[in-house]
């Protein structure tokens, strides 16, 4: 790759590609899996791991976009509402227009993109804090979603999206497609954020938007793009959500997903203050959260107990970071 750059080509020209937080997460997940495997032998089987990976996919995928948004110093609490809009529209299209897989995905992604664009325009050009705007659009999106639902559920969804589902159609060589696609997109985003000027600019904006502007970064466009990317990924993630469900979609779809996504991002080591973050960490964070949820059920505990662990993980992950920063300051 770096042929011709001479001696320097061999030297590392960027900081380590994987951060300490990610190693820790890999360790924690490994530890958890070993513990679960010991206590419930059924855990480390394809029948248990595959659904776990499928369930991780939507949160991790939206998490990629959320990571970029948070890196720029923003936040998007409307993704739950946006998931509802995309999935109900797509489900209706599947039931009523009997569209095929490609059209369904395109439709969902396009709708997600439009919703992301709305957020992006309002935040980049309205100069209002992202959390306020997206709290507002969260309500608007939920309204839209519920209007499309009408009075009840969407029933009789055909298996068109089984490619993304839990069933045998959703796997190639044992790897669930939804998870494989998520990993590929995460890898692409990782490369984009690390190796392109545009990607690096997200970090500069989160570090100091004013200074970034002075350095020639087109801040408003970048911010807009961050929300647009999130919207597009929400669209794809909504297809995963439909595929994972039964043939019925009810009105609770997407509810609370914004907090689940933010939790995954934060556990993954992305700083809520902006300027620092990693999509790899987010993927691991989502995997950890889902592993806990899956572990809790397999141990026969009450499933809601997993939320308690999510809360504790957030506190430990962020708290450790804060204490490290404090130690560095006092040095």
């Amino acid at each position: 790759m770096s042929v011709g750059t001479g001696a320097l080509g061999r030297r590392r020209v960027l900081p380590a590609p994987v951060t300490g937080q990610e190693f820790v997460l890999v360790g924690v997940i490994a530890l958890l899996w070993v513990a679960l495997a010991v206590s419930t032998p059924a855990f480390l089987t394809a029948g248990s791991i595959q659904p776990l990976l499928v369930a991780t996919a939507p949160v991790a995928l939206v998490g990629v976009g959320m990571t970029i948004v948070i890196v720029t110093g923003g936040i998007d609490v409307s993704v739950g509402g946006a998931i509802m809009v995309c999935s109900v529209l797509t489900a209706k299209a599947l039931v009523e227009a009997e569209v095929n897989l490609g059209v369904a995905v395109l439709l969902s992604v396009a709708v997600g993109g439009v919703l992301g664009l709305v957020n992006g325009v309002l935040i980049a050009y309205g100069r209002v804090h992202a959390i306020i705007i997206t709290f507002g659009t969260a309500n608007l999106f939920m309204f839209l979603g519920l209007r499309i639902f009408g009075s009840g559920t969407v029933n009789g969804i055909p298996g068109t999206l089984a490619f993304f589902g839990r069933g045998p159609d959703g796997r190639t060589l044992g790897v669930p497609h939804a998870f494989g696609i998520t990993v590929l997109i995460t890898a692409a985003a990782w490369w984009y954020l690390r190796h392109t000027a545009g990607g690096r600019h997200f970090f500069a904006i989160g570090g100091d938007a004013q200074a970034a502007r002075l350095a020639g970064v087109r801040v408003q466009r970048r911010v807009l793009l961050a929300y647009l990317i999130t919207g597009l990924l929400v669209g794809l993630a909504s297809c995963f959500v439909i595929a994972q469900g039964t043939s019925t979609l009810d009105q609770s779809v997407g509810s609370g997903k914004e907090l689940a996504v933010i939790a995954a991002v934060v556990i993954g080591g992305t700083s809520i203050m902006g300027g620092r973050g990693s999509v790899l960490g987010t993927l691991l964070g989502a995997l950890l959260v889902q592993s806990v949820a899956s572990g809790v059920t397999q141990l026969g505990w009450r499933s809601q107990l997993s939320d308690l662990f999510v809360g504790l993980f957030i506190i430990v992950a962020v708290g450790a970071d804060l204490l490290r920063a404090r130690a560095r300051r006092n040095r």
Binding site: H129, G136, M142, S151, R302, L305, V318, G319
Partner: protein, 357 residues
């Protein structure tokens, strides 16, 4: 001649600009105008027969029961947002759930007297708020993260604590009376009946928070740290302690809302504060709509109260304007649209007049 007309044009222009300026910079004035506009709109619709039931003073008064939890949690958000440094509390709804279960145990199962159960619930709310305050103020967590974490933790505990079962023993069922309307003494026959919860919970809370913010030294300290916490430190103010207490007070208010909610449902439900959209989102919306600046140091009790009235009466009207559950859907539209509108207005105001009053 031309000069004279020019002058009058200019002066009317000035008057118009002044009114605009007042509406944009004085959130209270804007909210008052909007409330009047909403009420008149629905009165006109009512007169035209477009509504499914009469929108009159009795109806408006009865709908105030919805204002009780909304305004109280809006005030809780006011306290934490005022404290600055990105102050926010996502966990209020989860505290309502968990504290509600505690209330359910104490009053519904252990047979405690009502007052003791309420005090216990408020103290428990304070404890949960103290966890938030400790993480934010003493450890230095961003408030969004700390309260996201405790949101998950409290929500989970509320469900696990009684095996997902609600508590609705006879004493709890009888509590429904808080939501009933009563006739006011003396001049009661001339005005509509008012929900009891307004007097037992909302008004005392509003007065207490107003006293706290506008009349005590604590209120001053809170505004000071929210405005500039570096200057507050150099002035010798206890910055951490003040911010910590803001979260504790928010917890107390959430605990009281838990009691109200148990009364309203006649049952201590483990998901009372987090089901659907939860309670945090509307509460933050109310606070922002009421003119509370997300950056801290700006915000008043009156703004939050008026914003609550606006939303409650708007929602009440919407419920009558649509058939079935369409009404609740359009309530989401109203809440979202009003919030985005208010936020964009804040942005505009900041650019044009350099800050809101």
């Amino acid at each position: 001649m031309t000069t004279a007309t020019a002058v009058t044009a200019a002066s009317t222009g000035n008057a118009g600009a002044r009114v605009l300026r007042v509406l944009l910079t004085q959130r209270i004035a804007l909210l008052a105008v909007l409330i009047v506009a909403v009420v008149i709109t629905f009165f006109v619709q009512d007169a035209g027969g477009y509504l499914t039931a009469p929108y009159d003073f009795d109806y408006m008064s009865a709908s105030l029961i919805n204002a009780v939890p909304l305004a109280m949690l809006g005030l809780a958000e006011l306290l934490v947002i005022l404290s600055g440094r990105g102050g926010i509390d996502l966990s209020v709804g989860a505290i309502v759930s968990l504290a509600g279960m505690i209330f359910g145990f104490a009053y519904g199962e252990w047979g405690w007297p009502l007052w003791a159960a309420i005090v216990l619930t408020a103290l428990f709310g304070a404890l949960l708020g103290a966890v938030n305050g400790f993480l934010v103020s003493y450890i230095g967590f961003p408030a969004l993260i700390a309260t996201l974490a405790t949101y998950y933790a409290y929500k989970s505990l509320a469900i696990v604590i009684n095996n997902q079962e609600p508590i609705s023993t006879p004493p709890i069922q009888k509590l429904f009376s808080i939501s009933e309307s009563v006739e006011l003494p003396l001049f009661g026959q001339y005005v509509p009946d008012v929900p009891l919860g307004i007097f037992t919970f909302l008004l005392p809370t509003v007065v207490a928070v107003w006293l706290l913010l506008a009349r005590t030294t604590y209120g001053r300290r809170l505004y000071a740290i929210g405005t500039n916490d570096v200057a507050a430190r150099w002035s010798g103010l206890p910055v951490r302690d003040t911010r910590f207490k803001a979260y504790v007070y928010a917890g107390v208010l959430s605990g009281l809302v838990a009691v109200v909610t148990v009364g309203q449902f006649a049952s201590a439900r483990p998901d009372a504060g987090v089901s659907g959209n939860g309670m945090a989102l509307p509460a933050i919306t109310i606070a922002v709509l009421g003119g509370v600046a997300i950056t801290g140091g700006i915000g008043r009790v009156s703004g939050v109260v008026l914003a609550t009235l606006l939303i409650v009466w708007l929602n009440a009207g919407i419920l009558l304007a649509f058939v079935g559950n369409e009404g609740s859907q359009y309530q989401l539209l109203a809440l979202g649209a009003v919030l985005v509108f208010a936020a964009l207005l804040n942005g505009l105001t900041n650019r044009r007049y350099g800050g809101t009053a």
